[in-house]
């Protein structure tokens, strides 16, 4: 999977519209769980379109640090089996959303707030592949 942000520095101001293009490359075989969130042993399988049940694209923030993780999804799009069947895998797909003004990305001592675009592939084997592309949500400059 690859994903390209419209801003090369991956920095967006609150209230700005973010556009990003994502694409799933379908090689003959891939270690499916290399990027998986669960800790099951690696599984090698064919990633042909029938092997992908659905794809979820989301723009979200989550917390990292000492406290338990919190997260909130700002934008969510799901491509179900019907869309997957008609999806052209050679083309890039567009994700466009107007970002909120808060919470801004934050790098603290106990707490970090991260924004990301997350792509999650659900495979027919039951495995999931998750790719996470971070970006920075920053404040609108004063007088801007």
């Amino acid at each position: 999977m690859n994903l390209a942000f419209c801003n090369e520095d991956h920095r967006y101001e609150g209230g700005q519209t973010m556009e990003c293009r994502w694409r799933i490359h379908l090689p003959a075989a891939r270690v499916a769980s290399a990027l998986s969130v669960d800790s099951e042993p690696p599984v090698t399988e064919d990633l042909k379109p029938p092997a992908i049940q659905c794809v979820e694209a989301s723009v979200m923030w989550y917390t990292e640090g000492k406290g338990d993780e919190d997260f909130n999804v700002h934008y969510f799009q799901r491509f179900g089996p019907a869309e997957i069947a008609t999806m052209d895998w050679s083309c890039e797909h567009m994700l466009k959303t107007t970002l909120p003004v808060s919470p801004l990305s934050y790098e603290g001592n106990l707490l970090r707030i991260r924004w990301c675009v997350r792509l999650r592939l659900f495979l027919s084997s039951g495995n999931e592949i998750v790719a996470q592309h971070p970006f920075w949500l920053t404040a609108t400059p004063l007088g801007g």
Binding site: D68, E69, H74, P103, L110, A139, T140, L142
Partner: protein, 344 residues
């Protein structure tokens, strides 16, 4: 010294302090009423159930009249004492606001839709200020220690009075309880000590007056400069009074079966630090100053397990009272091109 003139027009200002002697006297009266009620009830019950020829309460009043009288004293004394403790350190407006908003868990409020994950802070702006636009509510109720001391003093002395009745009944019916009689003396000493501790807590809590913090705008924004006003009421000499603007991270996490909270101060800006102040009921200490939020600072943030909180902290090292520390939360919103909306 000015003598009160009951015929003259009532004068005063909003900064009128609490009468310390009145507060202490009222609490002492209701504590005495409560304990007398315990004593009469115990004596009446003992008279009825211990021995038929024992009549220490030869008042001519019937058993049920005495029981009702004692219970009335218990209820009136106990209720008035609890209400008195609750009134210390909280204005009637604030108590009223708490009653109306009892369902809201936090004074700072829940996040709004315009600024996700940023507390709205609507409860911070519902009280108009005397000097500036808003009077900020504090988060620390100073009467916790007092309530604990009152409960301990009343319970200990109530038990002691019941045991005293048992001892008197024993002597009266020619079956003296010598061990219990001997135990009553050290227990009385402890009772006197807890009563004195309660009286000291009451004087201390009543002596340290209210802290008022007002601000001209709310919510705040990074890079903004705001006018703030602080007044400290009471009757005390302060070794030191400090006003700080604090930004604090707060994380809630599970450790085994426990839920723990960790806090870390990421910014502490001392606004004012003054030494050797004298505060009188008629002459509170007050100061107006500028409050500047650093332009690179993080905005207020709240999620279920994490938070970034901003607050103005007023702390003092007082004598003869203990040190105090009052915290007044404020909300810092991120800078935005959205038009600012006044919560009022």
């Amino acid at each position: 010294m000015r003598f009160p003139k009951p015929w003259s027009k009532k004068r005063g200002s909003r900064l009128a302090g609490r009468a310390l002697a009145g507060t202490v006297g009222e609490a002492a009266f209701f504590a005495a009423l409560f304990l007398t009620g315990v004593f009469i009830l115990a004596l009446t019950l003992a008279q009825r159930f211990v021995a038929s020829d024992w009549s220490p309460l030869a008042t001519g009043l019937g058993f049920w009249i005495l029981v009702v009288l004692a219970i009335a004293m218990l209820v009136v004394g106990g209720t008035a004492l609890v209400l008195g403790v609750l009134q210390i350190g909280a204005s009637s407006e604030r108590r009223n606001a708490f009653v109306r908003k009892a369902e809201e868990l936090e004074i700072i409020g829940k996040p709004g839709a315009e600024f996700p994950a940023v507390p709205r802070g609507v409860n911070l702006t519902d009280s108009p200020g005397m000097r500036l636009t808003y009077r900020l509510p504090g988060t620390v109720w100073p009467g916790k220690r007092l309530a604990a001391a009152a409960a301990l003093a009343l319970m200990w002395n109530a038990v002691w009075l019941v045991l005293l009745v048992v001892v008197i009944a024993g002597f009266w019916s020619d079956r003296p309880r010598w061990v219990l009689t001997a135990l009553l003396f050290p227990m009385a000493g402890v009772g006197v000590w807890v009563l004195r501790h309660y009286a000291r807590c009451l004087r201390e809590t009543a002596g340290v007056g209210a802290t008022i913090v007002e601000i001209d705008q709310h919510p705040l924004q990074p890079g903004g400069t705001y006018r703030a006003y602080v007044a400290q009421l009471g009757r005390m000499n302060l070794r030191r009074l400090r006003i700080e603007l604090v930004c604090e991270e707060e994380s809630t996490f599970r450790q085994g079966t426990d839920i723990r909270i960790d806090r870390n101060r990421v910014l502490s800006q001392i606004i004012l630090d003054q030494y050797d102040l004298t505060i009188d009921p008629g002459r509170p200490w007050e100061q107006e100053f500028d409050l500047t939020i650093p332009s690179e600072a993080m905005h207020s943030f709240r999620s279920p397990h994490n938070a970034v909180q901003w607050k103005v902290i007023v702390s003092g090292e007082a004598r003869p009272w203990p040190s105090f520390c009052q915290s007044f939360p404020v909300v810092v919103q991120p800078t935005t091109r959205l038009p600012r909306r006044s919560p009022r």
